[in-house]
């Protein structure tokens, strides 16, 4: 582990600083994309449970598209293909964004919308798992559609899907590593760079593997605490996990 405190080739930093910077990009990408995914995913999940109209169908098209194309191919779409398809001036503006933003922004949009499709499916399953009496009771009490979802259905649905959301939350940290293919120097890319500079493979990849383990543990802890905090005594779906 002495590797961490050795100086980098340019002499200005230690390898530890590279790891910290990589960790910073991994965390910001994961948390930013998670925010996008929660908002978009919830909206689409709700749209898929609406009784009729074009929205449920559009929701299905979204989910099928984003779930059936590999994340890496989607990454290339946002980074390489989209700027070419847009009007020249906008495309150029995207391509000329300063690094690392030129990679970070497409990666953020990509990972956010990709994860949104998966969250949408869970939200839909959560809403559909509720007894239909909930919806009927809400209408009988005079709730409009928006109020019914916001105050009655979604709070219960989210409690049901918290365990699967935990899984998704842990996955998004791992998926940030795909952004290295479009040039974002996040954790895994940092390990590769340190290895290329020092040829000390075990140490470089070992440290980064440990960091991922710690992230997974922390992410799990956060979700576990949320689950405990929102648990309702009378609500079976929010019960304790094994």
């Amino acid at each position: 582990m002495s590797l961490l405190f050795e100086q980098t080739p340019d002499g200005a930093e230690r390898y530890l600083d590279w790891i910290v910077s990589g960790l910073g990009w991994t965390l910001s990408l994961a948390l930013g994309a998670w925010t996008i995914a929660l908002v978009v995913g919830t909206l689409i999940g709700v749209a898929r449970t609406l009784p009729k109209g074009i929205l449920p169908r559009l929701g299905r098209v979204y989910v099928e598209t984003f779930r059936n194309i590999p994340l890496l191919v989607q990454m290339f779409f946002w980074y390489f293909v989209l700027p070419e398809l847009l009007p020249v001036r906008i495309g150029m503006a995207i391509k000329q964004m300063d690094p690392p933003w030129g990679s970070f922004v497409p990666a953020l949009v990509c990972l956010g919308l990709f994860t949104a499709a998966r969250i949408a499916e869970q939200v839909r399953a959560g809403i559909q798992a509720l007894p239909s009496g909930q919806m009927q009771a809400a209408s009988a009490l005079g709730f409009g559609r928006a109020g019914m979802y916001r105050l009655i259905l979604l709070p219960q649905a989210f409690r049901i899907i918290l365990p699967t959301l935990t899984n998704e939350f842990m996955t998004i940290f791992k998926n940030t590593s795909v952004a290295l293919t479009i040039g974002l120097v996040e954790l895994t890319a940092t390990a590769r760079e340190i290895n290329e500079n020092t040829f000390r493979t075990f140490e470089a990849f070992g440290v980064v593997t440990l960091v991922y383990l710690v992230i997974a543990l922390l992410a799990w802890q956060v979700m576990y605490r949320i689950e405990r905090a929102v648990q309702l005594p009378a609500f079976a779906g929010g019960g304790a996990r094994p």
């Binding site: 194309i69 590999p70 940030t176 290295l180």
Partner: protein, 228 residues
Amino acid sequence: MMVDLSAIAAATPYLLSGLWFTVQITLVGVTGGIVFGSLLAVARLSRNRLISTLATAYVNLMRSIPLILVIFWVFFLVPWAIGWLTRSGRPVAVGASLTIFVTFVLFEAAYYAEIVRAGFRSISPGQYSACEALGLSKLHAYIYILFPQAIRNVLPILLTQTIVLFQDTSLVYVISATDLLGAATKIAQRDGRLVEMYLTVGVIYFVVCYAASQFVKQLQGRLAYGAR
């Protein structure tokens, strides 16, 4: 920007050879992953604390780190490991495909293990007792009684995981292998046809995965009906 269809037509044979490698990785990953994963699942249920702890640690480790990181690990470690095994004392160069096959078996096994374990837990405890009462050995009980039921109970999830595996194979891009995406990238960079190539590849992945997922959905309905 115009999309040039003739560029896609010219690239088709090369793309198909890439797709074949993608399919090969998937097949090796599924077979090896389910075999090794089932062993891990059985090991996790073992009464021997050491064995179950080791299997649990392996599964949790693999599930906590990104696949790309595992690809790099195996890419750098396998040459050393072979050098050590053959006592030549130095790393031995191995082909990219061997590295990739090893990676996918090791990585996907952790995910299959969790699915198979869920399958074992879905079998009623009476089945385990019945095996003991009939005097079946552990091995026979697993092969003839428990494993077939476990697999049937989780078949849709196993297949869904296989679709995920098929998509995950695209990550071998990071060690410049020529799978479907790798083939497209090489042509895209040679001819300057990024848009055409990546859109084509996206459509191919979509068609394969969508068809497969619809099949799984149908199967799920049929299995649920049969269980009633």
